[in-house]
């Protein structure tokens, strides 16, 4: 051992020779015993804890004394237990009984008190974990500590309980016994089991009540500034953890309804949505949230709608391959017996047994059937859409909610029934033109000249277009509609977007970053022009191409590069755009109407993409490179053309 490398201790912390100022005790069998090593460990803990803490010398002294007196009180029984019961765990449990006694608050500083309580919590929790079956009775002590006056102790207590409950709660739901069951005679084991379960549920409900009151009080902070917010936050987090760890245990609905009100718990709800297999939990949560939003007459924070974006509706309502395989198998089996040869009686019997076994195996696997999933998710979807549509139709809260709703609509667009398309499109159009909202008469909407309105954020308008596009690409393709108005709107939005330096800015929220406007814009363009079908009107494509080139001059480099690459892809998909790049081949007639917000009528073939040559001398190397690639491509294409 290298002496140099050993950690050194300060002199004070070095172990002092053991000095006990306790008196010897008379044990049950009459021996006199010195209270020596029995609780050396504990002493150690408390010692180090005390030195960790701030040293207020006088107080420490007294506390130590007090502590030791406490220990003396219980020492007697302890030794007794040691002598009578040799089992290790048992001793341990009883040994810690002294921690069940509450430290006297009036006789120590707050810090010491907290540390003492901390120690108690640790030991009790440890005891419960070691033997959950018998430990249930200690839960009450934990509960008492958590209702302490000191907020810090309270928080610690709540967290301790959380950890304990997370470990000892079973995965299944404990149901209440029916009267018949209660009367029936049961074996001792079963009775014990039931007692245990009952206790567990009881203490769990007590714990939940504590959490609910804590979180509710914190929510009232506006009315009562002295409310304890920190404890509330801890309680909310604890609730979220509980629902994630043991989603199937009792009181699920109560927890969910409490969580719906709390902002900080959104992450938990989100995780719940993601892990939910059967869809039942999601349905419960969404139902409660929808009700709450309705109760508040749609005046809620947009983040209330965000978790819905994480529902598993997208995948779940589609037939997954595993289910299909099973169905095929069943079909085949149903057909087989007809073809099969005659079976002997014995074989038939065997087969029947086999089938029974299979059935019970399936049950045991507890797989959630497709029908069930469909049922729950169907209901969830209904709730989601009802809320979305109601918010869209609301005239007076145009504020922050719309983007969240529109994002949701875009996400689940493929699930919207075709019947709603007409109404929905009308509504989206109105919103993006800023004709939907407070104090706008219907008659004005007819003659609104400008497509772009200052009443709507660029972001909202982009999201409107995006939802419409998603709806169409989802199932509207069957209809093959030409959504002219949305094209026009996007075309009109390009100049204001070009004049927006923060186009690449992403907003960071609690859950993830919201997409930047640049992302939204290019997704729109992608869906419009590079989808499966070609846009029929080449004039329209050319007009967009021209305007994007113009905008690329103003955009920050990253977006500019994207714009140029987008034009490149346009040129590949629509070879007729060549005319914009070569002035020799044919000149269009008329003038290019630069300021007209109508891509079909601005006559883009009367001009050419001269912006590309400006972009070639752009200050950013990436933009230069992208432009060079594009021009190169155009040149080779033209050569091919001539040959």
């Amino acid at each position: 051992m290298n002496y140099e490398q050993n950690l050194r201790r300060f002199e004070q912390t070095e172990k002092k020779p053991k000095l006990t100022n306790r008196l010897p005790i008379k044990t049950a069998d009459g021996r006199l015993a010195l209270p020596e090593n029995s609780d050396e460990e504990n002493d150690d803990i408390s010692d180090s804890a005390h030195t960790d803490g701030e040293s207020s010398v006088g107080g420490e002294q007294s506390a130590e004394e007090q502590h030791s007196t406490l220990e003396v009180d219980s020492d007697g029984d302890e030794d007794q237990e040691v002598s009578t019961r040799p089992s290790y765990t048992e001793t341990k449990l009883e040994e810690q009984d002294d921690y069940v006694i509450e430290p006297d608050r009036s006789r120590m500083t707050r810090k010491q008190y907290i540390i003492a309580q901390q120690n108690r919590l640790a030991v009790i929790a440890d005891a419960i974990m070691q033997d959950p079956d018998n430990g249930v009775k200690y839960l009450k002590t934990l509960h008492n500590i958590s209702s302490d006056v000191d907020p810090r102790v309270k928080r610690l207590g709540l967290l301790t309980q959380l950890a304990v409950f997370c470990d000892i709660l079973p995965e299944y739901r404990i149901r209440e016994l029916t009267e018949k069951e209660q009367q029936a005679k049961v074996t001792k084991d079963v009775r014990q089991q039931r007692m245990h379960e009952e206790q567990l549920v009881h203490s769990y409900s007590n714990y939940l009540k504590q959490l609910f009151t804590a979180s509710k009080q914190a929510l009232k902070v506006f009315a009562n500034p002295s409310a304890d917010i920190e404890t509330g936050i801890v309680a909310a987090r604890a609730l979220g953890n509980l629902i994630n760890v043991r989603p199937l245990f009792n009181f699920r609905k109560d927890i969910l309804s409490a969580l719906v009100d709390i902002y900080t718990a959104r992450l938990a709800v989100l995780r719940l949505f993601r892990d939910d297999v059967s869809g039942e939990l999601s349905q419960n949560a969404v139902m409660l949230a929808a009700k709450r939003i309705k109760r508040l007459s749609y005046r809620v924070d947009p983040s209330a709608l965000r978790p819905w974006l994480h529902l598993r509706l997208r995948e779940e309502l589609r037939e997954n391959p595993e289910d299909r395989k099973r169905k095929d198998e069943e079909q085949r089996q149903r057909e087989q017996p007809k073809r099969a040869l005659h079976m002997s009686k014995k074989q038939a019997k065997m087969r029947k047994v086999q089938q029974d076994v299979d059935k019970s195996l399936v049950e045991a696997e507890a797989e959630v059937s497709r029908e069930e999933r469909e049922k729950w998710y169907g209901e969830t979807l209904k709730q989601v859409f009802i809320t979305y549509f109601r918010i869209l139709k609301q005239k007076d809260n145009i504020g922050g909610l719309l983007p969240a709703v529109l994002e949701g609509l875009a996400k689940y667009a493929h699930l919207i029934s075709v019947e709603f398309f007409v109404d929905l499109f009308q509504l989206l159009k109105k919103i993006m033109r800023g004709q939907h909202g407070v104090g706008i008469g219907a008659e004005e909407s007819e003659h609104g000249e400008d497509l772009v309105s200052s009443r709507v954020g660029l972001r909202t308008a982009l999201l409107c277009i995006l939802s419409a596009l998603h709806i169409l690409t989802g199932q509207g393709e069957a209809l093959n509609l030409d959504i002219k108005d949305f094209f026009y709107q996007l075309y009109a939005l390009l100049p204001p977007l070009a004049a927006r330096p923060q186009i690449e800015a992403t907003q960071a929220t609690w859950e993830e970053t919201v997409r930047s406007e640049s992302d939204l814009l290019f997704e729109c363009l992608q869906l419009m022009f590079l989808g499966r079908t070609k846009v029929s009107s080449i004039t329209r494509v050319a007009a967009f191409c021209k305007r994007i080139a113009e905008c690329a001059l103003c955009w920050p480099p990253k977006t500019a590069v994207r714009a140029i690459e987008f034009m490149h892809r346009l040129l590949i998909k629509y070879p007729a755009l060549d005319r914009l790049l070569s002035s020799e081949e044919q000149a269009g007639c008329g003038l290019y109407l630069r300021d007209l917000d109508d891509p079909d009528m601005c006559n883009p073939f009367a001009t050419c993409l001269f912006e590309l040559h400006w972009l070639q001398i752009h200050y950013h190397a990436g933009v230069q490179a992208a432009t060079a690639r594009l021009l190169n491509f155009a040149k080779t294409e033209q050569k091919k053309h001539r040959l």
């Binding site: 007409v422 499109f425 093959n480 030409d482």
Partner: protein
Amino acid sequence: MRPLTDDETKVLFEKLAKYIARNIIHLIDRPDEPYCFRLQKDRVYYVSESNMRRATAIGRKNLVSLGICFGKFTKTGKFRLHITALQYLAQYAKYKVWIKPNGEMPFLYGNHVVKAHIGRVTEDIPEHQGVVIYNMADVPLGFGVSARSTVDMRKVDPTGIAVFHQADNGEYLREEDALF
């Protein structure tokens, strides 16, 4: 040759508005040259003002045609659009219908457009509105009147009529004599 009276202008514009709505402004307010409508032997011509001035040198009887013929007034005072106006209607059309290749010939022979032949439609056509018909390569073929709104078009069976025929490019051959 004379300018249109107020009544005539009203009738003409009402008809045009069915196809190109407020884009009529673009017909008259052109950035390159002022254009106007002139009446000659019941027919309405859309003509640039410089051409119109030159045409004044020619007597009414001798003037066969000038500019682009938009259509003619019937004896009952209604206005009838001719296929020759298609160029401008197509440019400014508000509602469009694209038809599939297998529907092009039936339409060009003067038949109505059935639902099965429709390739794509503008999203919000109301009933009985003027629509311009294109093939899938975006070449204008003619124009007609929508038999149903876009929403109802979905529900019609494939042989049901979607657009009533009014004029098509085939008329240049079929009615060569009467057209000019």
